[in-house]
Symmetry: C2
Subunit: 388 residues, 2 copies
């Protein structure tokens, strides 16, 4: 257990009906709100009207930025930052899933600087402050509602890049599981794959000294595996939606880190997939993960897969470690591609090997992804090929 | 999963050597520090000198309050608050275990009001603000380093009372597992019993909808059960001390709550034990817990004990639920009284039934403890009697 600093300042209102506290929280930040959201789903669901009503009751002045894209674009971030400056906005309110919240983080930061927001990602532009950010979560997936990271895409340059800053932690997040009742099967499945992947990125490591966090992560994985299928069958099952929602935050908010080796593997590979093909993040992760696992499985790493198989899938602990490991990867594939019904191959979503050379180069930035198993460009290319 | 608000603003520096950040964190709060601690152990261990050196490097002016008692007394809190006012203190630095940190919380609050600090506990005196509090933890037990609660004793009135306030959350806590290397066997055992009890108080409830947090709590319990014996055998085992230390914070910092029924049972009973007899908190909890469990075990509650037995102690899931439940309680007794070597009966620590009548009355404040199984005065008295 290496040294680490833990600090998650976000306040969370969890549960049905908590939006009654929205007005009071926004008012503490000021008068002028930039409401940012994605497509029209929040209007269809009635959430938009509810939010406006709460803000009206609190005498807030509301400006809007609609149309934040899945895999949010730098153009939206620029436009949001411009609106904040133009209208002297006090607080950003992001309503949606990870894409909307990620964009809002850099809108809030972009509002406080003269730098172009894309420079946060490619030129190391400093983030010294940001407007306060309040979020209303409508999709359990990225955990952006409780972390200090965001990922923004630039389709001109085929880049999808992440940036961290303590200044972009949401100040307050509203997690009402009933707001995810309308999330369709496909998005529920992709979101669940994303949650699992966040846990895998931390869980699969070569350290062996943090038993406690392993038990926590195994519990979170079992939670997703138990409740995602229930949410698919019964989209309005509160217990399932609540467990998935809180698990999505825990998977990435820093609770489970504890000084583990933090180099990720599948996420950087997926980010180039999305940057070239704009596919859904969780789908890309689901396709990549079992192939990545098989690629990593060797003598030095088999014990972690064994632990995963026994503690998460309940595979017979008396079997040979290698057999347990292989069965565990098989169980995970079955979960993604049968239980959740996700497509299992890149070729099924219109992706061929045209750009694999450049994509592999970008994923490791020309060097090595220093995760569970260090991966160079050729390794990554092989994993992409196995996903075809 | 009921509605809840999650907010744990404490920043944690975890790991060996993190005290190099102490000066910078204190300096952010001001110039004048009140250093409060318990007995002389921090002088013997060299920690005291290290702290003074760090504070000297940061040009801080240090005042001292030594001698905070186990089961800290209201007199110490009063004296600390007085010192803060007299010297215009900017920040309180508590170095020790839960007793020192608990006292420091109300010293920090007492410094900001003209009310007598005991009125925080008996007269509902408001806590509108508090001096910033920074802690250096030297004992894994109470979790006070990361929560908003403290318990103070008044031996004149035989009261040991708790108070919560968001204003007394430590701003920063330093968790260096090597600082617990010198904790002796008895205190290590009592601390471990305290950690387990914090988890039990949340885990044993009648709600059935928060699978995720149950898995987390079961993992934390297994962690304590795995590492406490190792720490007893090898006091300088970093992995054991680190896992116990982080588990102690998680057991009570709010991570595991999630809207569960929060009425506690063993803690209020133990608090009257300590208030009358000044016994070690963790020892009192260890003696009480298995008897409390047996008293609660009935048809409506057996399923939770079954889950506990299977998931924490690995008892054969195919056995009858009642048998699993009884075996689980037996396993826990064995853990407390054999593995940890704690005394198992009140009579062994010089406690008889002289005050059971008044103690039972005080534990439920003349009403009912509305925990896992609601307990009135007569119930509590019976549990005390079974502990003799």
């Amino acid at each position: 257990m290496k040294s680490f600093v833990y600090h998650v300042p976000t306040k969370v209102y969890f549960g049905e009906g908590q939006l009654c506290h929205l007005g009071e929280e926004l008012k503490q930040c000021g008068k002028k709100v930039l409401l940012s959201y994605g497509g029209g789903s929040i209007k269809k669901s009635g959430l938009y009207d509810l939010l406006l009503e709460e803000m009206k009751k609190a005498n807030l002045e509301v400006f809007e930025l609609a149309g934040i894209e899945p895999n949010p674009r730098i153009e939206s971030v620029r436009e949001g930052a411009r609106l904040c400056k133009q209208h002297d906005i006090d607080v950003v309110l992001a309503v949606g899933g990870g894409s909307t919240i990620d964009a809002a983080k850099f809108i809030a930061a972009g509002a406080c600087t003269d730098d172009d927001p894309w420079d946060f990602f490619v030129a190391g532009a400093p983030i010294d402050k940001a407007l306060p950010l309040i979020t209303v979560l409508t999709l359990s997936a990225t955990g952006s509602e409780m972390d200090s990271c965001g990922v923004i895409s630039n389709m001109e340059t085929n880049d999808k890049l992440a940036r961290y800053s303590d200044h972009v932690f949401p100040k307050v997040s509203f997690l009402d599981p009933t707001l995810t009742y309308t999330v369709n099967e496909y998005q529920t499945a992709c979101g669940s794959a994303d949650i699992l992947s966040h846990i895998f990125e931390v869980y699969f490591n070569m350290n062996k000294d943090l038993y406690m966090l392993d038990t926590v992560m195994e519990g979170l994985m079992r939670t997703v595996i138990k409740y995602a299928p229930i949410a698919l069958r019964e989209p309005e099952n509160y217990e399932a939606r609540a467990n998935l929602m809180w698990a999505s935050s825990w998977a990435i908010n820093g609770f489970i880190n504890g000084g583990k080796q933090q180099a990720w593997s599948c996420h950087p590979m997926e980010h180039v997939l999305s940057a070239y093909y704009d596919i859904t993040h969780g789908l890309g992760l689901a396709i990549l993960t079992p192939r990545w696992m098989k690629y990593c499985l060797d003598e030095t790493r088999v014990s972690k897969f064994y632990q995963f198989g026994v503690n998460v899938f309940g595979i017979d602990a008396s079997l040979e470690p290698l057999e347990v490991a292989e069965r565990a990867i098989e169980e995970l594939s079955t979960f993604f591609f049968r239980t959740l019904g996700l497509k299992s191959r890149l070729s099924e979503v219109g992706i061929d090997d045209t750009h694999f050379e450049q994509m592999s180069q970008k994923a490791c930035k020309g060097g090595v992804l220093a995760g569970f198993k260090p991966l160079g460009k050729e390794d990554i290319k092989k994993i992409f090929e196995r996903c075809l």
